[in-house]
Amino acid sequence: MSATLGEAPKLQSSIAEQVQSEIERAIRRNIKGLEYVASPAPAVGMTPKDVIYKRGTLNLYHYLPMADEIYRVPILIVMATSNRGYILDLAPGQSFVEFLLRSGYDVYLIDWSPPSPDERRLRFEDYTLDFIPECVRRVRKDSGVKDLTLMGYCMGGVLSVIYVALHPKTQPKNLVCFTTPIDFRAMELFAKWSDRRYFEVDRLVDTTGNVPAELIFTGFEMLRPASRLAGQVTLWENLGNDEFVKSYRMFERWSNDTLPLAGEYFRQTVKDLLWENSLYKGELTIGGKRADLRNITAPILHVVAEHDHIVPHAAARPLIEQVGSAEKEEIMLKGGHISLVAGANAQRRLWPRLDAWLGVRSI
């Protein structure tokens, strides 16, 4: 249908306005794009803390309390070995650690640095019979409280449950795990890629020593190969939104900041956990002791993500099924592997739920 004579100039001016608005948006976007490239990455992990213990790859932080009174029981968080701990302390107002501190918890965190060449020999034995017990001892000494809540994220959760299973007589007051895999065969793509018929893990570890961060990063990226590009398209569209850009940059920085893994630890992960699925079967032996999940009797909360592409629910579910605790609960929340613990989704969903569960158990 053609416009009438009177409507034609109106239509032309409307089209002109739209074109002008789009050009202005594109210019603004380009200016913001230049700012994006030129400006430094946003600061992360800025919540005030003391490093109370450091040994090679291991760092134990104590965050300075932010409440006038705190719960009796301190929290010791064990970060995943493949990533930096600042995902739990992104920025003021978006920091899980800050939330815990403001809610009245006393927070300690085990964060990992890239293992040095001589740390290529670190094994599960070092993490679960030496590092974590030593940190538990130091937290008890520093806080003056015997009880503590042990909290692990992803492989940090795996190390935490193995530690508790190996030390049944010194159970933590509470155990909290976020998206912790137990049945490694259910992590289908990782299991497929590390198929023992094709994957020469011995050659890899013997050649590289520590397993390079690039290999770990590529493994995670390949699970969702289109997501990075789609993320960049979304970033382009939202370049005018400063909050979105800041958040995007923090998450991008974190996901690019993958850590290398100690060679022997990686070899054990592949052979014992992925090939033999020994943690799930109750056959994992560490330092001559069997890590039987039934030995875990502390109250336990396991929070899993509905859309977790790294640790699907089938891989995480057996934790609550197998532990011997009388008080045990699994909560499934909307979100993915990372958005479960950090970002707006976590702020709305996980943090208040966790506080409700943990507060009454921290006195």
């Binding site: 705190i70 001589d118 890629w193 094709y198 020469e200 050659r203 050649t207 289109a226």
Partner: protein
């Protein structure tokens, strides 16, 4: 009242990108879950590792001929240095601790901590 399809072109674009991402990821995951992919990608990696091993071994022989240290020799030296540094820092801590203890008893400021008396909100009167 039932809502009609959105007329916002940005929303349509976002939906398109989201669908594209889902489809590509699903397709890629399907292909990467195959034996062929696992076998092919691992063959490529094993070849790269073999080349790396061969280069390292050849280079070590070459450097030994020139009477120069290899990367492994330097790494071993670094390990020994690190072990010595760790040992020294343990000695330093052991030496400093009694002094630190004395200064604390002399009334040096210790970071004060809030009392561990907090009760969960539901328990408050």
């Amino acid at each position: 009242m039932a809502e009609g399809p959105s007329k916002d072109p940005s929303a349509a674009w976002r939906e398109l990108v989201s669908q594209w991402e889902k489809n590509i990821n699903a397709l890629a995951n399907q292909n990467m879950a195959s034996d062929e992919f696992s076998s092919g990608s691992n063959q490529a990696m094993n070849l790269a590792l073999r080349i790396q091993q061969g280069m390292a071994s050849g280079m070590a022989t070459y450097l030994a001929t020139l009477n120069l240290p290899s990367r492994a020799d330097i790494t071993a030296l670094g390990e020994r240095l690190q072990a010595m540094e760790a040992y020294l820092s343990r000695i330093a801590v052991a030496l400093e601790e009694p002094a630190r203890g004395k200064s604390r008893t002399r009334g040096a400021p210790k970071r004060s901590r809030p009392p561990r008396t907090k009760q969960p909100p539901a328990r408050l009167p």
